[in-house]
Symmetry: D2
Subunit: 303 residues, 4 copies
């Protein structure tokens, strides 16, 4: 396939749409992003790497880190996690607290904030340093030792983190945290505050396209586990717009409020697009438009 050409087509679509969104402003550290900045990169299972736009520029990965923390927990600790967090779509944008209450502190899936808090707790128990293990994985897969946690973003998250603190305390009240709320929140804010580029993330997500095999050829997840993570990404990876994303794009993907979207083409490649302006569900307008244009142009989709 002529990936570079398809990436350029995607970039045109992104530039056309990005103006319709709004940059996340719940923390000052994100509010300064240039709304229509754009980058996109694709890393194939064969080792190709292609990019367009600002594909080498680091941005705040935010919730995309939830994908890596989940994969690390499954790799280290196996299926034990699934007694503590579900894998069903959450349904509505504002109901994480509602569902947590109705479902006794078991978060609906690992990609809503409540679920990622439980995953972080588990990763902390397994590794002793949850955020460092996410960071280490990203550096290893991308070959970029410059990837780092942005301390200003982490501090800003903590300072404006009352809602996540509420979730964590509520989960703790149901006995579903092993570490203290303070430790879990610190680790959670830390791995959400990693800065990485589209190129870095495409490389780091490639193990899900290659059925669980890492860049160095070692197996991280079994083929079945890798498929299953992709399934959870498809049904739960883009907040409460997962149905819409599957409908329009048709790929497993994880989005973050920093404007990044990392999508998987199983057996083929990982694809990361970035543009800071978000839609109402918190997904990047430009990045989603770019990935949709890419799948339309290439005909690639899991459906």
């Amino acid at each position: 396939m002529n990936y570079p050409e398809f990436l350029r087509t995607a970039m045109v679509a992104a530039h056309r749409e990005a103006g319709k969104g709004h940059v996340a402003d719940y923390i000052p550290a994100l509010a300064g992003a240039v709304p229509d900045a754009f980058g996109m990169a694709l890393a194939t299972v064969d080792g190709e790497l292609h990019g367009v736009g600002n594909w080498k520029e680091p941005f705040s990965i935010q919730s995309i880190s939830k994908l890596f923390s989940l994969a690390l927990v499954l790799a280290e600790g196996g299926n034990a996690l699934w007694t503590r967090v579900g894998r069903e779509p959450s349904g509505t944008p504002f109901n994480s607290l509602v569902q947590l209450e109705a479902e006794r502190g078991i978060p609906r899936n690992p990609f809503i904030n409540a679920g990622a808090v439980v995953v972080t707790d588990r990763l902390q128990t397994l590794t002793g340093d949850a955020s460092r293990s996410v960071l280490g994985f990203l550096r290893a897969e991308s070959g970029n030792p410059g990837i780092s946690i942005d301390p200003a973003v982490a501090a800003s998250e903590a300072a404006h983190g009352h809602r996540n603190a509420a979730l964590a305390h509520f989960i703790a009240s149901h006995g579903n945290l092993d570490n203290t709320v303070a430790v879990v929140l610190e680790e959670y804010f830390a791995h959400c505050s990693i800065s990485a580029s589209c190129g870095d993330l495409a490389l780091a997500g490639r193990f899900l396209a290659s059925h669980g095999v890492r860049a160095d050829g070692t197996r991280m997840l079994s083929s079945t586990e890798a498929k299953r993570v992709n399934a959870v990404l498809l049904t739960c990876g883009t907040y409460d717009a997962a149905g819409e994303f599957a409908y329009r794009v048709g790929l497993p993907a994880k989005s973050g409020v920093g404007g990044g979207v990392l999508a998987i083409l199983p057996g083929r490649a990982a694809l990361c697009a970035w543009s800071p302006a978000l839609d109402r569900a918190g997904n990047s307008v430009g990045a989603v438009a770019a990935i949709e244009a890419f799948t339309t142009a290439t005909g690639l989709s899991i459906f």
Copy 2:
């Protein structure tokens, strides 16, 4: 692929699991089914048809009809439907009324009962006879003119249909029905009461595997539309266990409380399994086990 062997493997798995479920008993007409009856059929895009067990025995297709009514509406009326029904997973088992109320009479997706009522209303407006058009489609695709609506099941549905009547009146109170509640419910109960076999349904679902092309070679849906229906099936097709089904099986599918599950292998085949005993989410224990065993054995999955 040696499909017959894989189907036999699947049947073994189904027989092992089916005893764990319970036959639907909300209407007398369904309660008499043999819990561990089993059949399975696969229809490839190339025209092969394989079956095991009681794959030629008709059963009540129930909610599987929602897939066909949706496809017919999209084929006849295009995208206009999507202003009246969403395409997001509904989240929890008992919340259709809750969500309908919060979301002002716009059902969350076309596969929950409320959504299927709206789809039926639209199909009635487009064709003048919603249940007949579903029936006609099934007969044409399967080549089996003996497929019919079971009047005893339809009468039983109507007699025990207070909850669906509540949904329909509530939707009507929001102005989201064009036909009368009585007509829509009659048509809805009728197409849910169609009896067809695994072989019939595999043939009838094959257009979604062949990117929208019917048995006679004519195009029913564009390739993009067919992919999108598959996406909605994956995120919403198995009630509130869609996340779990995607995780375990990894195929777009629609289940019914008659015990049938129709799954799509895009580009390859449609697969229908049937076993009456259900799990708590209303999906057939044996049919799901069979399809999971089939995908594990073949390695086929969209992820």
Copy 3:
């Protein structure tokens, strides 16, 4: 007490406030009311009757009828009702369907629509003609044989009654109706469509001020039962604004979307005010202002 003077004070307050509301327009038959029309009447346990404004003009009593149907059921059938309907405040304006679903078809209290449907069903079973028995009670207590059911309002309610039909079918789906949905709805719409004046309603509500004794001296409810109906009125009688009404006014009361409010001064009198313009909770702006001014001026309150 100089009741006439206090009533005039109340009328001044009502005229000052009534312009802030909006007449109910969900059915055409109510939408034509003059927004700032006003009447008020007080009937003491000693037999005095006082009125100001248009206190002899009939209006649509709407939900005020729920008070009478409840009292008749308790008088005829005793406490058996309370296994089928609760007596807790419902909490939020839009959640009757939500609560019905969560609480398996047992309405939260007899004054929300769902609860009044169950009360009507019970009254129908006890009397064979629920709306006639409410009508007969009002005529007897007021001595006014001209009180009647407005057929235009009843027809309009039925024509726009999809939401109440949804509630009734949902209750029926939980086995909590003895009569058919059609019969219950007809009786429910009929007794809500009674036209009566402030004077009529003050006389008809007086039994709750006189500890259960009717106009003719016979006992309808025991003293304890009468107190308990007053308690339910206080906590549930003014929709989801019951807390606010208790805070501002401090009397048991039932309101209707026709603009009437019937309040009880236990041991002393019944008080009915009417003004068609409603606030967002569905309570009459002018009538509530009048009753509040009356209690402030007289110092009468149960607290």
Copy 4:
């Protein structure tokens, strides 16, 4: 009235019922209470004080402190509080988080935990020491300088306070706290951990029976404000069983999970009963039975 005799009648009822409940065990410091311990005291507006059983034995007042913190805030700061907390019943037992989310951090009323957290925050701002001001008020009204905060209970509350921490952080996330979460929780746990006897609490609650006038003859609240606090107590004072309590007992009251219930007879007396075993809604079985028996025997009720 022969109050001593009526109190003895009440005690008999309490002893008959108390065995049906269960002592609160969510914190170790409460779990050790003797389930059927019982005391009851009545303080009239004329200065009489009567008691039966262990009416001089201190117990943990728990949520009864919410009544005093509310009154102090209204006395010090007037109506400004009501923009930050509502006064409607909350509806269901487990929905405080649900409602907080739906209603953007404005608690439904001052007597659910979320509302009391906001009241405590306001009292802290007004007085600089919220728990001390509650303690000082209780000591002054009862004339008992021995009333104190139980540090073991306060520590136990804090150690098991994840759910209250969740509420406080969630409220803070909506900007509805002026002080830090840590300070507000500390003060909240402290005033809930006050130990006082039935006699102390009857005397301390008497200002609500005497229309706002304190033991020393000074006015704390206007007559209207005192009535309004009583109204909020009636509709919201006994958790989600407020409707049931009004129905059975018919008095404004505040309960606590330490087993105490403080009820108001407006214009006449304050009444406090205590027995540790609780019903499912968290109200003392024995104390409620005692107060119900007292109102039945005396005929006293606000209805």
